[in-house]
């Protein structure tokens, strides 16, 4: 009984380490074969359409609502201290520093990440990747790398649009609905938000999240067992793993970027 438990633990550990090693080799191979993604940029643009442009609706609508909620909640709290004019700062900083990159990344993981995993997994299950290889076309260079770079490039734009929509939502609720002074809302925001400290760090975060989500999604698809349950399991794992990775990475990045501020 005990022996079996230990054997089980051992084999799971070996499998886990093997998978991490395989994932690392996969990631290196993607980077090494990235030339095609840039030489034939059309391939990457096509994927940017699928993972970026088609994610716009969910990103923009969510951004708007998150901003509107921030406007409501922020006003409630700030007015207790008589500083409701600072609503612009609160909305902008929360979005640009945290909510923009993180929520956009979580949405991206579930909208585009899952789609990437399912697509690659099905391509593998229907032997399309093998067929490509037999045609002397490297699937890592032709299929994986363009999707990777498309995700990495799209993510900061999506996060920026999320934040912009959110700020607009905060403005709608705070200024137009509740009646916070419009001049104060914008000018305080303008003076308090620092480009390097806030916006650039937000962009860096979203690039890192883009790398993490797309790499996880592609790997899960590439590694998925070629069966229906294999692909569905991989899709679920993509959403869970990449969401957790985004949250954990966010903590680490925030700790480095904003300590002592």
């Amino acid at each position: 009984m005990l022996r079996r438990a230990i054997e089980n633990l051992g084999s799971r550990t070996i499998d886990g380490v093997w998978r991490i090693g395989f994932a690392a080799r996969f990631f290196v191979a993607v980077l090494l074969h990235s030339g095609t993604a840039f030489r034939r940029f059309g391939l990457t643009i096509r994927e940017m359409y699928f993972s970026g442009v088609l994610s716009l609706i969910i990103i923009l609508v969510s951004g708007l609502f998150v901003g509107m909620v921030l406007g409501l909640q922020g006003y409630e709290t700030l007015q207790t201290y008589g500083s409701e004019e600072a609503l612009g700062i609160l909305v902008a900083l929360s979005l640009v520093r945290e909510l923009g990159p993180v929520v956009a990344a979580l949405l991206f993981a579930s909208r585009a990440g899952s789609a990437i995993t399912a697509e690659i997994g099905l391509m593998k299950a229907t032997e399309q990747l093998t067929a490509m290889e037999m045609m002397a076309v490297n699937p890592i260079a032709r299929v994986i790398a363009p999707r990777f770079w498309a995700g990495v490039i799209s993510m900061p734009f999506l996060a920026a649009l999320f934040s912009a929509m959110g700020i607009f939502g905060g403005y709608l609720v705070g200024v137009q609905l509740i009646g916070v002074d419009e001049g104060a809302f914008w000018s305080q925001m303008q003076s308090a938000v620092d480009f390097e400290e806030d916006i650039l760090n937000g962009i860096i975060k979203s690039v890192v999240f883009g790398v993490a989500i797309t790499a996880i999604a592609l790997f899960e698809g590439y590694d998925a067992p070629p069966t229906a349950e294999g692909v569905s399991g991989a899709t679920t794992r993509t959403v869970v793993t990449s969401s957790l990775a985004v949250l954990a990475l966010d903590f680490v990045l925030t700790a480095f970027m904003f300590r002592g501020v």
């Binding site: 032997e127 290889e133 037999m134 002397a136 490297n138 032709r142």
Partner: protein, 281 residues
Amino acid sequence: MTASNNDRFDSVQDDALVEIRDVVFGYGARPVLQGINLTARRGQVVAIMGSSGCGKTTLLRLIGGQVRATQGTVRVAGESLGELDAEGLYRLRRRMGMLFQFGALFTDITVFDNVAYPLREHTDLAEETIRDLVLMKLNAVGLTGAADLMPSALSGGMARRVALARAIALDPMLVMYDEPFAGLDPISLGVTGNLIRRLTDTLGLTSLVVTHDVQESLKIVDYVYFVSAGVIVAEGTAAEILASDLPYVHQFVHGEADGPVPFHYQAPAYAEDLGLRSSRA
């Protein structure tokens, strides 16, 4: 028949396009192929037959260089696959075509783009030339009318013919077919068989057909290898195979339920399972 070899077809030794010598291969600890010898001469249609799971598809994967032999040599056009690096392998694969069991067409692009795919990837031809070539290949499989369809709109037999057009797009020297007859209606079956024979003859290809469809393939092949449990148990021309009195070949060719390949999967005695007889006895 057992002593004979495909070598006798031609006295010129160099005529062999695919040569497999003493190949041993296994997935992990599970042996799949144990000492295989096989030759496919230029211009021949060679069938590899055997029941499901006997290692036929693995043989194709070895010839395509997707897996490497544990022992022995696999030579294609004189090049030993075990010694090729990734670049050499890709160079060789450009001269091979492979037809997968279910076609493996790219589902996100049209039939036309599927056939054009290898041309666009490997040549700098102008789009008009590519168009002419693609229509030529589609015409060879009788599907010019389907050029603008998406693969999801095709029947199984049509999808396989499109995949065949794609496989011959770069005018390969060798085309490998993985179960080209599986799951086809009688008409498509005949069409596919004839296509394999006709393309081999007119384009000067060599064809390797992995199949378990005896009746259809014996009509078109020049030479047959029978694989069972990872070894070649018989070989010969279609006529020799049909006349064979080897128990395994006889069972296979005539589709008999019981014989050297038993009907029952390995199991304890049925009576024991039913509890009719004590297992202690």
